[in-house]
């Protein structure tokens, strides 16, 4: 078997498409993923076909560790859904019992998804479930302690790029990492075909104070047309 490649604290790649994180809740799979024991550490498989962040780690041309939050960082996850990807971010930023002292603000608007997310949060200290509209800064501001080091936005609605610029502008630290998952099908059909819509999003990001580091295409891993934009906050303070 190929030697695992370390991508950062508590995350490694094995072979071509296996990504594993150090499980913060031993013995528990969040959505039925595989787990395995390696000496005293339990690792949890992060499926790139189900998580856009995991797919981006495999598809990026840069150092994959640039895409991930540092241990103990403040993370903002907009559009947390049922919390699958959130749980892996939690593995990295908070760890078991939040010994890394991170915080993840996970915003989701659907009560059905929040039900699962709240259950996940009660197992994982440091994860803050917020039921509300992820497009509004005051949904996040009562919960977040200091600005965020890492933001991921994964909303399926129109004007995702504008929302991302607004939210990253309000909450992302200078030098902080932002990931914008973009699904072409969510944007208005009047905006043209998939490529036109991605180009429009790229232009909006380019005109903001965010620096677009890379545009990562997720072909192969996801059915619909997806890209992830990796950006860095360049503004000094917001």
């Amino acid at each position: 078997m190929a030697r695992p490649v370390k991508l950062g604290w508590g995350v490694r790649r094995e072979g071509r498409s296996g990504i594993w994180t150090r499980n913060a809740v031993r013995g528990v799979s969040v959505r039925g993923e595989r787990r395995k024991q390696d000496s005293r550490i339990e690792w949890r498989a992060w499926d790139p076909n189900r998580s856009k962040v995991a797919a981006a780690l495999l598809r990026t041309n840069n150092d994959p560790s640039d895409l991930l939050p540092e241990p103990g960082s403040t993370c903002l996850y907009l559009g947390a859904s049922y919390g699958g990807t959130v749980s892996f971010v939690h593995d990295l930023a908070c760890g078991s019992g939040n010994h890394l002292k991170g915080q993840i603000i996970a915003v989701e608007i659907a009560p059905r998804a929040m039900r699962e997310l709240a259950a996940l949060a009660s197992q994982r200290p440091g994860l803050v479930p917020v039921l509300g509209d992820a497009r509004l800064p005051h949904t996040v501001s009562p919960y977040i302690r200091g600005k965020a080091d890492w933001i991921h936005q994964d909303l399926s609605m129109a004007d995702q790029a504008e929302t991302f610029v607004k939210m990253a502008g309000a909450f992302l630290k200078p030098g902080g990492t932002g990931l914008l998952s973009l699904k072409a099908a969510s944007e208005r059909s009047s905006d043209g075909d998939d490529d036109t819509r991605f180009a429009k999003a790229e232009r909006i990001l380019g005109e903001s104070e965010l620096e677009v580091v890379e545009r990562i295409e997720l072909a192969h891993h996801h059915q619909e047309q997806h890209v992830v934009f990796h950006v860095r906050q360049t503004a000094e303070s917001g």
Partner: protein
């Protein structure tokens, strides 16, 4: 001057960063009280302390993002962090529970259950009638249709079912296991009829209360379907009538985007006799007219207008007849 605040305290800060005034939440700090406080902050309102300071310093600008990047802002202590975590969890669970108070979600469940039951009832009932009818060759499958499932379900043999329907016993008998299957299928149809009825009665009742004018215009089941398709009464009320006209015709709209002609109406509007019983060359005109009236009706319902009465509906139907009278013949193909 600015006002920075979070759930614990509020401060007035001048342009040099000096703290001019400070108020700390001095009430009893319980999980429930904090959850209420967070809900208010989350909806964009000021904390009570920030509001007092805003009154005290009218020129100070409250900034709900200020505390986050204020380098002098006090760190929360362990107790405060634990309280916040507990209150956040409480608030999330409260929000999940409150979803049941949302009539849009309740109508969605009822109306979807009713349409799914209707779909499976149609299939099962037709199979039951055809199946029993194969043996009961003398039964009138139109006039006695409603009685057949019950007659089969309550009989202990095919002869008994024939007797209940007042016809002579069939020449060919089903095998015992075949009869068991036929009878339990018929029992299922009888039971399904009851379930469908219960779901439709409840849907009608909810729709008549929630969208009274639209229910009068479209019938309560059609009105419920439109609200569900629009994902909520408010969204339906804010929707342009051109979108309402084709709501539910998503396949046809997708084809239209690729160049096909636009759909004239959705299945919901087509189910109205005013549309489906009209000649095809006026259906689009009538659907457009009725969609306009639906838009007005749901706005009346959502924005607390005076609900429509039968007189208003009669007037709309007269106008529909006038449209039909204006176009008695199909347009000439040029």
């Amino acid at each position: 001057m600015r006002i920075h605040f979070d759930w614990r305290l509020a401060r007035v800060i001048d342009s040099d960063g000096n703290v001019i005034d400070e108020l700390v939440w001095s009430g009893k700090r319980s999980v429930g009280a904090l959850a209420d406080r967070l809900a208010k902050l989350q909806s964009g309102r000021l904390s009570p302390e920030a509001r007092v300071l805003a009154e005290r310093f009218s020129e100070a600008e409250p900034n709900h993002l200020g505390a986050m990047s204020d380098p002098d802002w006090p760190e929360p202590d362990g107790d405060e962090q634990a309280l916040l975590a507990e209150a956040t969890d409480r608030l999330a669970r409260r929000g999940v529970a409150d979803a049941a108070g949302d009539l849009d979600r309740r109508l969605d469940m009822l109306s979807s259950a009713a349409s799914e039951l209707r779909a499976s009832w149609t299939t099962s009932e037709a199979r039951c009638v055809e199946w029993a009818g194969l043996f009961l060759s003398e039964a009138d499958l139109d006039a006695q249709r409603r009685d057949i499932p019950a007659a089969v379900a309550e009989a202990d043999s095919i002869d008994g079912a024939a007797a209940a329907l007042g016809i002579s016993a069939p020449d060919h008998q089903p095998s015992p296991s075949e009869w068991d299957a036929l009878r339990s299928h018929a029992t299922g149809v009888v039971e399904l009829t009851g379930r469908l009825d219960a779901a439709e009665v409840a849907t009608r009742e909810l729709a008549r209360g929630y969208v009274p004018s639209l229910s009068l215009l479209l019938g309560p089941l059609g009105a419920a379907k439109l609200v569900v398709l629009a994902r909520g009464r408010e969204r339906l009320a804010r929707m342009p009538s051109g979108s309402l006209q084709v709501l539910g015709a998503s396949g046809a709209m997708a084809a239209h985007r690729r160049g096909a002609p636009p759909p004239k109406h959705s299945p919901v509007l087509f189910s109205l006799p005013q549309v489906s019983k009209s000649p095809r060359w006026v259906r689009g005109k009538i659907a457009r007219f009725i969609a306009g009236k639906c838009s007005i009706a749901v706005r009346v319902d959502h924005f607390a207008g005076e609900p429509w009465d039968e007189e208003r509906i009669a007037e709309i139907n007269r106008k529909v007849d006038a449209i039909k009278a204006r176009f008695p013949k199909p347009p000439k193909r040029g």
